[in-house]
């Protein structure tokens, strides 16, 4: 049976082939990771410690700009008491249900969990030139001494608001971008990569 899930199109569907065909492992590669689950969780001091850990299956990092990971589940600390939780695409809203249950048990006090999966899409930028490509439009210091594996930041890339995350030492950067800016940013990335891939 064809469901609504099968019919959905990512904001980068029209440019995903070009992204995939650009670059190589020894320069830079792009890959869209569409339809990842994304939830924004906010919880304050009144919430009993450990409750979030149980719902998420891992301990949310307290330090702004850091990431905790377990397999495909990533918990990014965006600000004090504010996390972006991402995971692989799922056909049933399991994570959302777990967090909704948490909010219910907490009586809704000092905690919220909102499904924002459709708000952003995800582009992985990887390879030896990835840092240089991003640096064309990002004022963050991405040198390993300042930004490293499991660092994250909300910032601007080519004037688009993004959440940037480093996944590994390749280096692979994950760019979470608003759906309405995704097409613009993808084209900007392709343009910024030109000098590295030809």
């Amino acid at each position: 049976m064809t469901t609504a899930l099968d019919r959905r199109r990512s904001p980068l569907a029209v440019v995903s082939d070009r992204l995939a065909a650009t670059g190589s492992a020894d320069t830079v590669t792009f890959a869209e990771r569409p339809f990842r689950v994304q939830l924004e969780v906010r919880a304050g001091a009144m919430l009993r410690p450990g409750v979030l850990d149980d719902a998420l299956g891992l301990h949310p990092p307290a330090e702004v700009g850091t990431v905790a990971r377990r397999r495909e589940r990533h918990v990014l600390c965006l600000a004090p008491s504010w996390w972006l939780v991402t995971d692989e695409p799922e056909r049933e809203p399991r994570l959302e249900c777990a967090l909704a249950e948490l909010v219910r048990t907490a009586g809704g006090i000092d905690v919220s969990a909102v499904d924002v999966s459709a708000q952003r899409t995800t582009i992985d930028v990887a390879g030896p030139s990835a840092r240089d490509v991003l640096a064309h439009g990002c004022s963050l210091d991405l040198h390993p001494s300042a930004f490293t594996v499991d660092s994250c930041a909300q910032t601007t890339l080519a004037k688009a608001q993004v959440v940037l995350q480093q996944l590994d030492d390749a280096p692979t950067y994950r760019v979470h971008v608003r759906a309405s800016f995704a097409d613009y940013l993808a084209h900007w990335l392709l343009d910024a990569a030109t000098e590295y891939v030809h």
Partner: protein, 89 residues
């Protein structure tokens, strides 16, 4: 361009922030008792020092938290970033 130290994110470009004016301008304790000249004073009149000035900024493109800094209006030196508001923990 200014480099502004966010208490949570560290040094970021000025373009990631919005300016929030002078810090610690207290809202009138009893608004109903305030007459027009006092409202004008509260709403529009601000210190305009040549030198150190305590002001509010919000990190709109980053963690979206409000904070205060001391900024020198001549040298643009910025120091002592401090969290304010509910998000401050």
């Amino acid at each position: 361009m200014l480099s502004i130290p966010c208490p949570w994110c560290g040094d970021r470009d000025e373009t990631e922030f919005r300016y929030g004016g002078e810090a610690e301008v207290a809202y009138p304790a009893d608004p109903d008792a305030v007459d027009d000249p006092a409202w004008r004073e509260y709403l529009f009149v601000r210190a305009n020092p040549k030198g150190w000035f305590k002001e509010r900024w919000v990190h709109t493109a980053g963690c979206r938290q409000w904070f205060t800094v001391h900024r020198h209006t001549v040298t643009y030196e910025i120091r002592d970033p401090q969290p304010i508001g509910e998000g401050a923990r």
